[in-house]
């Protein structure tokens, strides 16, 4: 038996611990080798002030939390929600994606009707009629440096906020063979685009160089040869952190560390479902939003969060062949998870029936070897 303890504040599970037999994992300070564990959840819904229970995206902005729903945008600040709709300047009621520029604090919002910039209360809309945006359906958005990237239904758009220049990347000028882009992530001078049916595209900003990652098995729904590359070309989301690329598909999860690919599926790992809506990495840990629950995974240790039929929380921690299952009185709002983000050591989760906030706990957890 192993014993896990979560620290006050951030509740962390040491993940990079080698395991043999039964052993206690001590409480850890946050570090690059830890998988966070949460099992105290608070859920926010329309009753709390959200414009809709169906939360499509969540993004933390310092003390604020932005939530995109299918009926408007909401921001949580100083303990209360405030909603924005078309009447305020939102391009469309359905908000699909949100990003916050790390330097300016401008909030970029992808909707079904174009891209918004919210800047200290000022709304601007960029759509396919009034700007160079490729398409009004903006599935993903990422802001870094001089550029804002939008993953749209007709290719990826890049907007230079200094010059106002728009550039479209699609099947005509990249390796993308379909122009549908579902996710975009920009970090450290690299941009990754999840192209539906086209795998993952990598763009090195300084060199203006494209590279694509494809499934060696083509569009087969099974992975013929494990760990030979991306698990599927139908990618939905992508995240890049600390030199590790995480790619979400509707057929499993891929991890690429620059040298080796690894594929993960619900039949051979604790992945809650192969149907992955969104992935976001924080440090070495990827948070995977599926239609059957939420996973956190750093390459070694898995933590799975689900809501059972009675509304209670079901959490499983697995490290190697050891695991522990726990139940809790609170759970994520729904197992259909669409987004995740972090506010210091608090996690925010967007689900089909509300937004959940995971908070710290303090107790010991025992891992039992199988």
């Amino acid at each position: 038996m192993r014993r896990l303890r979560g620290p006050i504040g951030p509740v962390l599970l040491a993940a990079a611990v080698s395991f043999s037999g039964t052993r206690e994992l001590g409480a850890q300070e946050p570090d690059q080798g830890s998988v966070p564990v949460y099992h105290d959840w608070r859920t926010f819904t329309v009753a709390d002030g959200l414009p809709s229970d169906k939360a499509m995206a969540v993004r933390v902005d310092g003390d604020r939390v932005w939530v995109g729903t299918d009926h408007g945008l909401a921001v949580y600040e100083e303990g209360r929600w405030r909603s924005y709709g078309i009447e305020d300047g939102l391009a469309h009621d359905v908000v699909l994606s949100i990003d916050v520029h790390p330097e300016t604090g401008d909030v970029w919002i992808g909707t079904l009707g174009g891209l918004n910039r919210w800047s200290a209360g000022r709304w601007e809309t960029f759509d396919q009629l009034n700007s160079g945006l490729a398409n009004d359906v903006v599935y993903g958005v990422a802001a870094e440096g001089d550029y804002v990237w939008a993953a749209t239904a007709a290719g990826a758009s890049r907007f230079n906020v200094r010059t106002g220049e728009w550039t479209i990347f699609d099947e005509k000028n990249t390796a993308m063979h379909e122009p549908w882009t579902y996710g975009v992530h920009a970090a450290g001078g690299m941009v990754y685009i999840a192209a539906w049916g086209g795998g993952v595209l990598e763009y090195e900003v300084a060199a203006a160089r494209w590279r694509d990652y494809r499934d060696p098995d083509g569009e087969m729904e099974i992975d013929l040869f494990p760990h030979d590359g991306l698990v599927h070309d139908v990618t939905t989301s992508v995240s890049y952190e600390g030199g590790v690329l995480w790619a979400a598909t509707y057929f499993g999860l891929s991890r690429y560390d620059g040298a080796r690919w690894r594929g993960y599926f619900d039949h051979d790992s604790p992945l809650a479902s192969n149907f992955i809506n969104f992935v976001r990495a924080r440090g070495p840990v990827a948070w995977i939003c599926t239609d059957q629950g939420l996973n956190a995974f750093d390459g070694n240790t898995w933590v799975t969060y689900q809501r059972d039929s009675l509304g209670a929380g079901a959490m499983e921690i697995q490290h190697g062949d050891a695991s522990v299952r726990r139940r809790s009185a609170t759970a994520i709002a729904h197992n259909y998870v669409l987004g995740v983000d972090f506010q210091d050591e608090t996690v925010w989760v967007a689900t089909a029936q509300g937004v959940s906030r995971g908070v710290a706990f303090w107790e010991s957890v025992n891992l039992v070897g199988r």
């Binding site: 009034n130 001089d146 220049e165």
Partner: protein, 664 residues
């Protein structure tokens, strides 16, 4: 041959030659100018219009045009930006003499001093840079890259950072002064102009000239952008409704109020309202700096007298008086801030908005008006607050005002030459005394000869018909005819007698004044085009756009009719064919479908677009309003191709920009 016969022959020859010559000359002038009775002669077109020609160059003079100024911490020196001399002038404030002329970048706008008083920072609008001047040696020791068209600037009290308002790129640069590098770029309002720091240094307030994006034919809403010094992010956007052209800003020493200058355009009303004082009004905005603080607009005009084009504001050392330059009325208004506070506090919140249009209030807080020389612009107080220095831009002079006596007690001549015709025209352009009750100057709607991003109902053809987009006056030479209807064959007609009848409602310019005014307008230039590199080499996207602009066949290979090609109506070098054209852009409120084909110089800085300003962006010209392919064939273009075309259009006109400092 006897001399008498020679004289007779010469006289007959003169009659034979000169009579038809005079007749044909008059016909030529009338045809070219469109003026039937103005009595124009050859000189305007063959001298003043020939900008850069030999005769024009002979008449050119090197004016200084002081715009903004700063005072040294010990009060002994003035540092003055000389806009037209590309220089910073160092002036002995005691002796009233110019000590040094330091060459900086092109079109210097503002000057800010480092708190230690040893370094001056000068924004260079046409160089997209900030010159760093070591005041001890008088040497320019660095040039900081910032955004496009840097205007106002301010150094933080700790000397660590410099805030710069980039008027052409609509953003704010925060420069790390220790490293000499821009650290952050923040989105501002449209065409930010001035930077004011709160007395505690916690926030920077940045004014804007143009309205934020608002729906077509709705009132302008212009912002003052507030940046938190702690986070270096925009923390607030204070909105001034139905106002624009917010230029100067200053804070009370206690920091409880910020005062900005503003203009309230009545552009949604027909210009027939001029007689009622409803064309433009001028005033100040009083902003409570804290989060959610009130914004109150107050007019500085009177019921029958207007004080056009407020430009800069300075609040006295005791916080009792605010001083405002009216660059179109040649006065400084002195405002009693205690009276302003009392007025605001005594008024219910729901009635404060009424003050914005109340012409009868100014007597309660305007203490006096101090006359100045032509075109008073920037203001600066001496450290003890006893002297107020005023940059009299079109006098090349500094006025000195005693802040207790509230009168001009001296002037400092900077050494500019006497006015030539263009300079006289500049004074006419900037002064509002040629409009009814001084309601507006040419500059009021054309700041710096540019545009004001508004649409107007100017035509005396019925309320709401034929709304027009106000265009820039820069780069107009050789682009006749004028007006969107193309009715005016020359600026002499455009600005002549009829203009006084239907718009300015007072005496028209004399012929000599008209010559001068037109000479000045034709001298206006856009300056460098930041999308046009000096090398002339276009980017890949611009090259693709050029090909589309010049194409004769659609993407499918079908020939494009000549009249539907971009290049047909917009050929170089002016990118206009000087003709009227009906490209399907007429709307339900237009009484004609044909409009003058505009030139495309520096198009990128002139939104909105089309004759009535319906198109908020270049894209909208074709995506929303060009669907029938009459305004160029575009329906075969992909979105990426339209983006390329627009990137090319941005490169047209203006001077090439210095590649090292393109303002990007």
């Amino acid at each position: 041959m006897r001399p008498r016969w020679v004289a007779v022959i010469l006289a007959v020859a003169a009659v034979v030659i000169l009579t038809p010559g005079f007749y044909f000359s008059r016909r030529h002038v009338r045809f070219m100018s469109g003026n039937e009775s103005a009595g124009l002669n050859c000189m305007p077109c063959h001298l003043y219009l020939q900008q850069g020609g030999l005769l024009s160059r002979l008449g050119e003079r090197d004016y200084l045009s002081p715009l903004h100024l700063a005072v040294s911490p010990d009060g002994t020196r003035l540092y003055v930006t000389a806009e037209e001399a590309d220089a910073l002038l160092v002036v002995d404030a005691t002796e009233g003499t110019v000590l040094r002329r330091i060459a900086v970048g092109r079109q210097p706008h503002s000057v800010a001093l480092h708190p230690n008083g040893g370094t001056a920072y000068v924004s260079n609008r046409w160089s997209n840079s900030v010159s760093v001047v070591d005041l001890a040696s008088g040497a320019v020791v660095d040039a900081l890259n910032v955004g496009a068209g840097p205007a106002g600037l301010a150094a933080t009290p700790d000397g660590a950072s410099l805030y710069v308002a980039n008027a052409m790129s609509d953003d704010i640069s925060i420069v790390d002064l220790a490293r000499g590098q821009e650290r952050r770029r923040l989105s501002a309002g449209r065409s930010p102009q001035s930077v004011g720091l709160t007395p505690d240094g916690e926030s920077a307030f940045i004014t804007s000239r143009y309205t934020n994006g608002v729906p077509h034919r709705t009132t302008p809403i212009t912002e003052v952008t507030v940046v938190s010094a702690g986070t270096e992010r925009v923390s607030r956007r204070a909105l001034l409704r139905s106002a624009h052209d917010i230029e100067g800003i200053d804070f009370t020493p206690a920091g409880d109020l910020a005062v900005v200058t503003l203009v309230r355009p009545k552009n949604l009303l027909p210009a027939t309202q001029v007689g009622r004082g409803w064309m433009l009004t001028f005033g100040i905005g009083v902003i409570e700096p804290g989060p959610g603080g009130r914004v109150v607009q107050l007019l500085l005009d009177e019921v029958n007298a207007f004080f056009a084009d407020p430009f800069d504001v300075v609040i006295g050392a005791q916080g009792r008086h605010a001083f405002v330059t009216h660059s179109g009325a040649d006065v400084v208004s002195v405002i009693d801030l205690d009276a302003v506070r009392e007025l605001i506090e005594a008024t219910p919140a729901e009635r404060l908005a009424d003050f914005a249009d109340h012409l009868g209030l100014s007597a309660r807080y305007v203490v006096t008006r101090i006359p100045t020389g032509a075109n008073p612009k920037g203001l600066a107080l001496s450290p003890d607050g006893r002297r107020l220095y005023v940059a009299e831009r079109l006098e090349d002079r500094i006025a000195v005002i005693d802040t207790e006596a509230l009168e001009v007690v001296g002037t400092i001549e900077l050494g500019g030459p006497s006015p030539n015709r263009i300079r006289r025209g500049a004074r006419l352009f900037h002064r509002a005394d040629h409009t009814f009750q001084g309601q507006f100057s040419c500059r009021s709607c054309h700041p710096e000869g540019h545009h004001d991003a508004l649409t107007y109902d100017l035509e005396p053809d019925g309320l709401g018909l034929n709304v027009v987009n106000n265009l820039s006056l820069r780069g107009l030479a050789y682009t006749a005819p004028y007006k969107w209807t193309g009715k005016n064959a020359s600026l002499y007609r455009q600005c002549g007698f009829r203009f006084a009848k239907w718009l300015t409602r007072t005496e028209p310019y004399t012929l000599d004044e008209l010559y001068s005014l037109v000479a000045y307008i034709l001298s206006l230039s856009h300056g460098p085009n930041r999308y046009r590199p000096a090398s002339g080499e276009l980017t890949a996207a611009q090259e693709r756009g050029k090909t589309l602009f010049e194409r004769e066949r659609t993407s499918e290979g079908r020939p494009i009719p000549s009249e539907n090609r971009c290049i047909t109506c917009h050929p170089p070098p002016r990118f206009t064919n000087f003709q009227l054209a009906d490209v399907g852009s007429g709307g339900p409120l237009d009484t004609q479908g044909e409009f003058d084909t505009p030139h495309l110089d520096n198009l990128y800085g002139q939104a909105p677009y089309l004759h009535d300003g319906r198109a908020a962006t270049l894209e909208e010209i074709w995506t929303k309003f060009g669907g029938d392919d009459r305004h160029g064939v575009v329906n075969d273009l992909t979105k990426a191709q339209l983006n390329d075309l627009i990137e090319y259009l941005k490169t047209l006109g203006g001077e090439p920009a210095d590649e090292e400092r393109s303002g990007r």
